[in-house]
C-alpha cells in the first residue's frame, strides 16, 4: 500500500501543479481550405498579374516514427489554389505545387504556431507547340511559377485552433521575370458571399454563422462566431475584420 502511494504521489503532485500554468495549445490547422486576401506590398520586373485573393490549403503531417506516426515532429504543406490547379496539367510526382517545411506541435510562448523555413512551391509547365498564322509551328516555353511563403503565423488557443493565419507570399513568374510580394490575411472556411442575384450587393449576412434562409444562408457560413468578418466586394468572399493575429 505505502509503496503504491509513494508511486502515485508524484503523479498527483504533477497533476496538481499542471493546473498552475496553462499548457500550450496544440497547433491544429483547419481541414477546410482558407480564403486568403492579398494586399500588394511591392512588385518588380514590369507588368505582372496581380492576385487579389484565392483559396489556400494547408495540411499538417506527423513525422514517421518507428511504429506509427510521431506527432512530435510534424511538417506542413501550404498550397495556393492557383498552383493546385496548375499542377493538374503536369506530373505531380516531379513538380512541387506546395510549400513544405517543418511545423511545431505546440504553440510557442506567444500562442503562435510558426513553421520553420518553407521550401518554395515550384511548377514548370512543359513548353507547348503553337502554330502561327502561316501554319509554322514554334515552341512557346512553358510558364515557370515559383511561390515562396514566408513568416506564416497562426494564433491558436485551446478553444480556437488555427482557423486564421497571416503570412507573406512572393509570387515569381520566372519566364517573364515578374515578382510580386503580397501581405496575406487568411480565414477558414472559405465562404463565397456573392449574392444569387447579380444586381444585388454582396452581403455581410452570408458570412454569418447563424442560418437564415431569408438571406440565402440556409445552413450558416461555418465561420466561428467569435471571429468578426465582412463580405469583401472585390473578391466576393468573407474576409477578416482586423488582423488574423488579434486575440479573441
Amino acid at each position: 500500500m505505502l509503496t503504491l502511494l509513494r508511486r502515485i504521489a508524484p503523479l498527483l503532485l504533477l497533476a496538481a501543479t499542471a493546473g498552475c500554468e496553462d499548457p500550450p495549445a496544440p497547433c491544429h490547422v483547419a481541414t477546410a481550405p482558407y480564403y486568403a486576401r492579398y494586399r500588394v506590398l511591392s512588385q518588380s520586373g514590369g507588368l505582372c498579374d496581380i492576385r487579389i485573393g484565392e483559396e489556400v490549403g494547408i495540411e499538417v503531417y506527423p513525422g514517421r516514427g518507428p511504429d506509427g506516426p510521431d506527432s512530435s515532429r510534424p511538417s506542413i504543406a501550404v498550397q495556393s489554389s492557383f498552383m493546385g490547379q496548375m499542377a493538374f496539367m503536369v506530373d505531380r510526382d516531379e513538380q512541387r505545387p506546395y510549400s513544405f517545411g517543418s511545423f511545431p506541435e505546440l504553440a510557442d510562448a506567444d500562442g503562435l504556431c510558426r513553421p520553420g523555413d518553407l521550401a518554395p512551391a515550384d511548377v514548370q509547365f512543359p513548353s507547348q507547340v503553337v502554330f502561327d498564322d502561316l501554319g509554322n509551328p514554334f515552341e512557346v516555353p512553358g510558364a515557370h511559377v515559383r511561390e515562396t511563403w514566408k513568416d506564416l503565423r497562426m494564433l491558436v488557443t485551446h478553444s480556437l485552433p488555427g482557423v486564421r493565419f497571416a503570412a507573406e507570399l512572393t509570387v515569381e513568374d520566372l519566364t517573364n521575370g515578374c515578382s510580386v510580394r503580397y501581405e496575406v490575411s487568411a480565414l477558414s472556411p472559405s465562404v463565397d458571399c456573392s449574392s444569387f442575384f447579380p444586381e444585388a450587393t454582396p452581403g455581410d449576412e452570408l458570412c454569418s454563422p447563424e442560418p437564415d434562409p431569408s438571406t440565402g444562408n440556409p445552413s450558416g457560413s461555418g465561420i466561428d462566431p467569435r471571429i468578426q468578418t465582412r463580405c469583401d466586394s472585390n473578391t466576393l468572399h468573407c474576409v477578416l475584420v482586423g488582423s488574423p493575429l488579434d486575440p479573441l
Binding site: M1, L4, L5, I8, L11, L12, L14, A15, A16, A18, G19, D22, P23, P26, H28, A30, T31, P33, E54, E55, V56, G57, I58, E59, Y61, P62, G63, G68, P69, S71, S75, A77, V78, Q79, S80, S81, G84, F88, R92, P97, Y98, F100, T157, H158, S159, L160, P161, V163, S188, E210, P211, P213, P218, S219, G220, G222, I223, D224, P225, R226
Partner: protein, 942 residues
C-alpha cells in the same frame, strides 16, 4: 428453510438502515462501506427474501443470467434503460457496482458486464440516492453486493430454468423502410443451469463457497423478402414517377410477401459464471475473505448471429447482408479477484480493507472466429473488407435485390408485374446491403487494481460520535486494438460510380498515405481518494452527519487531470420515537463523476483514418475476398478542393484537444424523507429526491474538424451549450420485508427529468460513449435540445407481493405477483439539417411533441416445493412475464420530416410550417414492450 439468517436479532431480510445506536452497536455490517449513514434512500435486498417474486424476465438485460442488477428494479426511483438500470435520472453506465468491496463495472464504459447471478449473492445493498462518502465517486446509483460465504452448515443447491419460445406471446409487426428485406425476431429459448455449494472446512474458522452457472439464449430471426407497392404519380418530388402506397394505420409502405423467400436464422449466446470464495474467521473480531468470481459471455460465431455485448440486445436489426458480413463472434470476459478483511479492534473501532483486481476483455471477431490479429492472414474473414452497397433513393435507381441474392422464379412477376410501368428495382429494392467481411474488429483489454481501507471509531464528546476515515486508490489501464477487416471499409458512393475507402493510417506528406492493418491505443487512469465522516448522535434519536471526500484522477501522461475534487456531504436524522421505529431525514451531498477510460481511449488517442474515393470500374468491389487493402491508388479519384495539397486522400479524426481548465463532472443531490414502522412489520415512507447536474465532461467539435474535451459552457468550451440535467421525484413507499411467509413491496413515484444531457449514452440513438457522445458536439444544433429528457416518466407504480402457504407433509405453495405501470416517454419533433443530416434539428422544444402511452406489465409466479428428506427440498416454479400480453409501444418514430428545417425556439405545434413534407411514419411505434414469456424453473436445495 435454506435461507440463513445474517443479522441476529433483526428479523428483516429486506431492510433499510436506520441510524439508531441499536443497529450500529450490535452488528458490524458485512460491507463496511455503507455502514454509518442512515440518511440515505435505498434498501438492502436479500435475494432469498424476494425469491417469491417474478424478477428474472428472459428479455431483461441480464435476465437469462439472473443478474443481481435487476434487483434494483423493485425500488422506487429506478427504471430499466438500454444498458442496465437507471437511478433517479442518471444513465445506467454512471452507476457504481461494488461486489465484495471492489468495483466491477467496465473501466472503459462504466456498464456492468458481469451479470453475477442472484443465486451467488447474499445481500445487495442498493442506494438510490444520498449515497455515503465511503462509496467514492459516482453520479448514479450504488450497488454494494456481498457474495455468499458458506457457513457452519454444509449447503448445496442446484437450479435450472427453461423459457420456451413456443409459449411466447405475439410480437407486433416491425416496419423496415425502403427495403424488401424483413426480419422478425422471436424467442427460441432461454435455458440455464447452475449449482452452488458452501460449508465449513474447519468448523468455526474456515468456510468455503463455490458455484457456477451456464445460461444459453437463442432467438429465431425469421427473414423474408416483401415486394413494395407503388402508385404512379406526376408529382415533381416523386423522382421515378411513383409514390409509395401507404397503409394508413402504420404509415408504412404496403408490401407483398414473396413466396419461397422465407428462411430462419438464429442469434445465440451463452453466459457462464463462476465463483469461489474462502472465508477465514480468525476470531470473532477478525475475518478475511478471498473471492474469485467472473462471467464469460460469448455469442454468435459460425452460422449464428451475435448479441450486442453491451446492451444484450440482438446484434442485428435487419438481416440485410451476407452472413460473412453481418455475423460476428462477440465475447466479454470479466474476472475479479478480491481479498477483503474486517477487523474489530476493541469495542469501539473497526477496520475494513479490500484489495482487488478486475480484468475485462471484450472482443469482436468475424463469424469464423478470426479477429483483429488475423487481418493480414489470407483465408480468414478478417482478411476480407466489408463492402456496403447503398444507393439512396434520389436520382439513381436503387439496387434490386437480385443484384445480391437469387430470387425464386415466382417472385419475378410480383417484382415486375406485366403491364405496370414501375421499375423492378423500385418494387424489389434491396436497400443498404453488406457483403464481404465484418468491418470493424476490435479487442479491449482492461485491468483495474483497486484498494480501499476504512477505519471507524467511536468517541464521546457532547454526545456520541462515530468517526470514519478512509482512503482508496485505483489504477486502470486499457489497451484497444482495432482494425477494419481486410484493412479497409468500402462503401458505395455518389450514385454507384464510386466507392469510398476508409483505412486506418495517416498522411506522411501530400498524398503520401501510410496505412496499417490495425492500431493499438493504450490509456491509463490513476485515482486516489480519501474521506472523513462523523456521525454525531447529539441526543437519543437525533443524529447529524457531516463528511467530506477528496478525490484526484489523472489520465495517463497527464493528458486530462482532475486533481482537486472536494465533495461535502451533510445529513440530519431525527427519530421521534427514539426506538428505531421512525425517522425523518434530510441529506445534501455533492457527487463527482467517476470518469471512465472511454474519453482517453476515443478522444485522446491520435488514431486517424484516411478516406479516398475510387472509381468502381477500376476496383474489384464485386469480389471482396480479393480486395484486401481496399482499392488501389490507380483507381483513386480527385475529390478534394484544388487548394489542398493532397488531392486523393483526406484525413479523418485525430485532431483533438483538451481544455487544461477542465473540471470534473459533478452533481448536487438533496434527499429528504420520512419513514415509519407500523404494525404487521410494514414500513411506510415518503422520500423526495432532487438531483441536479453541475457540469458535464463532453466533447465539442471545433471548426478545424477535431474535438475539444472540456466542460460545455465553461473554460475553453464556453462557446458550447451548458449541460443541464435536473431530476425531481417524490416517492411513496410501502415495504413489508419477508417475514412470516409474506413479502410486499409497493411504491409510487411522481417525477420529472429535464435537461439536455442524458448521461453516458444518448437515449435518442443508443450511442454508448461516456463523455464523448454527440451531445454538445455542434452548438448550432442545440436550439430546442433542452426539455423533457427521454428518461422522464411522470408516474411510476410498482407493486410486488408474495406469499407462502405451508401445507401438510412439508409441502409449500408459493405465489407471487408484480405489477409495473408507468407513464410513457416524451418524444420530440425532428427534422433534417442542411449540413448534418436527418434527425438533427429539434423543430419544437425537446419532449414537447407528445408522450407515448402508459405501459403496464403484470408478472406472476407460482411455485411448489416439497421436503424430500430431512434437509433436501425440491421445488418447481413457473413464472409468466407480461401475463396480459400487452403490446404497448415504448418508442415512436420522431422524424416529423426529412426536409431541411429550422428549429423554432419555444415553438408550439401551430408554429410548424405547413409546406413541409410530413413523414407518414411520424409518431408511429418503432419499439414495443417485451411480449408474454414463460419461464419454468426447477431447484434442489440441501
Amino acid at each position: 428453510m435454506v435461507f440463513p439468517f445474517r443479522i441476529p436479532g433483526v428479523a428483516f431480510l429486506v431492510g433499510v438502515f436506520l441510524a439508531t445506536p441499536v443497529v450500529l452497536a450490535e452488528e458490524p455490517l458485512p460491507s463496511g462501506l455503507g455502514a454509518g449513514s442512515g440518511a440515505r434512500f435505498g434498501e438492502s435486498i436479500d435475494p432469498a427474501g424476494v425469491r417469491l417474486l417474478p424478477l428474472m424476465a428472459p428479455e431483461l438485460r441480464g435476465g437469462p443470467a439472473r443478474s443481481f442488477e435487476n434487483l434494483a428494479l423493485l425500488l422506487p426511483g429506478t427504471q430499466e434503460d438500454l444498458y442496465g438500470v437507471s437511478f433517479v435520472g442518471a444513465s445506467s453506465p454512471e452507476n457504481t457496482f461494488f461486489v465484495d468491496g471492489i468495483r466491477v463495472g467496465n473501466p472503459v464504459l462504466g456498464v456492468l458486464q458481469m451479470p453475477l447471478s442472484m443465486e451467488f449473492v447474499e445481500r445487495a445493498d442498493v442506494t438510490v440516492a444520498g449515497a455515503d462518502v465511503a462509496f467514492g465517486r459516482g453520479m448514479g446509483g450504488v450497488y454494494d453486493v456481498t457474495t455468499k460465504s458458506g457457513g457452519d452448515r454444509f449447503h448445496a443447491s442446484t437450479w435450472g430454468s427453461l423459457a420456451p419460445g413456443a409459449l411466447e406471446g405475439e410480437r407486433p409487426l416491425r416496419v423496415f423502410e425502403n427495403t424488401v428485406i424483413h426480419t422478425d425476431p422471436r424467442l427460441d429459448g432461454v435455458r440455464d443451469l447452475g449449482g452452488s455449494v458452501g460449508g465449513p472446512i474447519v468448523k468455526d474458522r474456515l468456510f468455503f463457497f463455490a458455484g457456477g452457472s451456464l445460461a444459453r439464449r437463442r432467438y429465431r430471426l425469421d427473414r423474408s423478402l416483401n415486394a413494395m407497392t407503388w402508385t404512379p404519380s406526376d408529382d415533381f418530388g416523386d423522382v421515378f414517377g411513383a409514390k409509395p402506397t401507404l397503409d394508413p394505420e402504420t404509415g408504412a409502405q404496403v408490401k407483398t410477401r414473396l413466396a419461397g423467400t422465407e428462411r430462419t436464422e438464429f442469434a445465440q449466446g451463452d453466459v457462464g459464471q463462476w465463483i469461489g470464495k474462502l472465508t477465514y474467521r480468525h476470531s470473532k473480531a477478525q475475518e478475511v475473505t478471498l473471492s474469485v468470481f467472473g462471467t464469460y459471455a460469448g455469442s454468435g460465431g459460425g452460422a449464428t448471429y451475435a448479441f450486442d455485448p453491451r446492451s444484450d440486445a440482438i446484434g442485428v436489426d435487419n438481416l440485410n447482408g451476407e452472413l460473412t458480413a453481418m455475423g460476428r463472434r462477440e465475447t466479454a470476459l470479466t474476472n475479479a479477484v478480491v481479498l477483503r478483511g474486517t477487523s474489530l479492534l476493541g469495542r469501539d473501532a473497526r477496520l475494513d480493507t479490500a484489495l482487488g483486481w478486475v480484468r475485462s476483455q471484450t472482443e469482436t471477431r468475424a463469424a469464423d472466429g478470426s479477429g483483429v490479429d488475423d487481418i493480414g492472414t489470407p483465408g480468414t474473414l478478417a482478411h476480407v473488407p466489408r463492402v456496403l452497397w447503398n444507393r439512396p433513393l434520389d436520382s439513381v435507381p436503387p439496387h434490386p435485390i437480385d443484384d445480391f441474392e437469387d430470387l425464386p422464379t415466382s417472385a419475378y412477376p410480383v417484382c415486375s408485374p406485366p403491364g405496370a410501368p414501375i421499375l423492378f428495382a423500385l418494387n424489389c429494392a434491396a436497400g443498404p446491403y453488406s457483403m464481404g467481411g465484418p468491418g470493424l474488429l476490435s479487442r479491449f483489454t482492461a485491468d483495474r487494481i483497486e484498494g480501499r481501507a476504512v477505519v471507524s471509531l467511536r468517541a464521546r464528546g457532547l454526545g456520541e460520535h462515530k468517526i470514519r476515515a478512509g482512503i482508496d486508490f485505483e489504477v486502470a489501464t486499457v489497451s484497444r486494438v482495432q482494425g477494419y477487416s481486410g484493412a479497409a471499409l468500402v462503401r458505395e458512393s455518389l450514385g454507384g460510380s464510386f466507392v469510398r475507402n476508409e483505412r486506418f493510417g495517416y498522411l506522411a506528406g501530400p498524398d503520401a498515405p501510410v496505412t496499417y492493418d490495425s492500431t493499438t491505443t493504450r490509456a491509463s487512469s490513476y485515482g486516489a481518494g480519501a474521506f472523513l465522516a462523523d456521525t454525531w448522535r447529539i441526543v437519543d434519536g437525533f443524529v447529524i452527519e457531516a463528511s467530506v471526500r477528496y478525490d484526484a484522477q489523472v489520465f495517463g501522461a497527464g493528458t486530462l487531470a482532475l486533481p482537486f475534487m472536494i465533495a461535502p456531504r451533510a445529513a440530519v436524522t431525527w427519530d421521534p420515537t427514539k426506538k428505531g421505529r421512525a425517522r425523518i431525514f434530510a441529506t445534501y451531498g455533492m457527487r463527482y463523476q467517476s470518469v471512465p477510460l472511454d474519453v482517453s481511449v476515443r478522444a485522446l488517442a491520435k488514431e486517424t483514418r484516411l478516406s479516398s474515393f475510387h472509381q468502381t470500374s477500376g476496383c474489384r468491389v464485386n469480389a471482396p475476398e480479393d480486395l484486401y487493402g481496399g482499392c488501389g491508388r490507380e483507381s483513386a479519384s480527385v475529390i478534394v478542393n484544388p487548394a489542398q495539397p493532397s488531392t486523393l486522400y483526406s484525413l479523418q479524426g485525430g485532431r483533438n484537444a483538451v481544455d487544461p481548465d477542465t473540471s470534473a463532472p459533478a452533481s448536487h443531490q438533496i434527499v429528504a424523507g420520512a419513514e415509519v414502522l407500523v404494525p404487521l412489520g410494514v414500513r411506510l415512507g415518503a422520500v423526495f429526491v432532487h438531483d441536479e447536474l453541475i457540469r458535464a465532461l463532453e466533447d465539442t467539435s471545433l471548426s478545424t474538424g477535431g474535438f475539444l474535451i472540456g466542460n460545455p459552457g465553461a473554460g475553453a468550451a464556453v462557446f458550447a451549450t451548458e449541460a443541464e440535467r435536473v431530476y425531481n421525484g417524490l416517492s411513496i413507499t410501502v415495504m413489508r420485508p419477508f417475514a412470516g411467509g409474506f413479502v410486499g413491496i409497493a411504491s409510487y413515484t411522481f417525477s420529472s427529468l429535464y435537461g439536455n444531457y442524458s448521461g453516458f449514452f444518448r437515449q435518442d440513438t443508443g450511442q454508448l460513449d461516456p463523455n464523448n457522445t454527440t451531445d454538445f458536439d455542434e452548438p448550432e444544433l442545440d436550439t430546442n435540445r433542452t426539455g423533457l429528457l427521454p428518461g422522464d416518466h411522470t408516474h411510476s407504480v410498482k407493486l410486488y407481493a408474495g406469499k407462502e402457504f405451508v401445507l401438510p407433509a412439508g409441502v409449500i405453495l408459493e405465489a407471487g405477483a408484480g405489477y409495473t405501470g408507468r407513464s410513457g416517454t416524451p418524444y420530440s419533433m425532428l427534422g433534417s439539417h442542411a449540413l448534418f443530416g436527418d434527425g438533427e434539428v429539434f423543430i419544437l422544444p425537446r419532449g414537447s411533441a407528445g408522450r407515448t402511452p402508459w405501459v403496464n406489465r403484470i408478472d406472476a409466479r407460482l411455485g411448489v416445493s416439497a421436503q424430500l428428506r430431512k434437509d433436501l427440498r425440491l421445488g418447481a416454479s413457473v413464472e409468466i412475464y407480461n401475463l396480459a400480453g400487452s403490446q404497448t409501444e415504448t418508442a415512436v418514430d420522431q422524424n416529423y420530416t426529412y426536409n431541411d428545417v429550422q428549429a423554432i425556439p419555444d415553438g408550439t405545434p401551430d408554429d410548424v410550417p405547413e409546406d413541409l413534407v410530413e413523414n407518414p411514419r411520424y409518431g408511429k411505434p418503432v419499439a414495443w414492450q417485451a411480449p408474454r414469456q414463460v419461464r419454468f424453473g426447477l431447484r434442489v436445495d440441501y
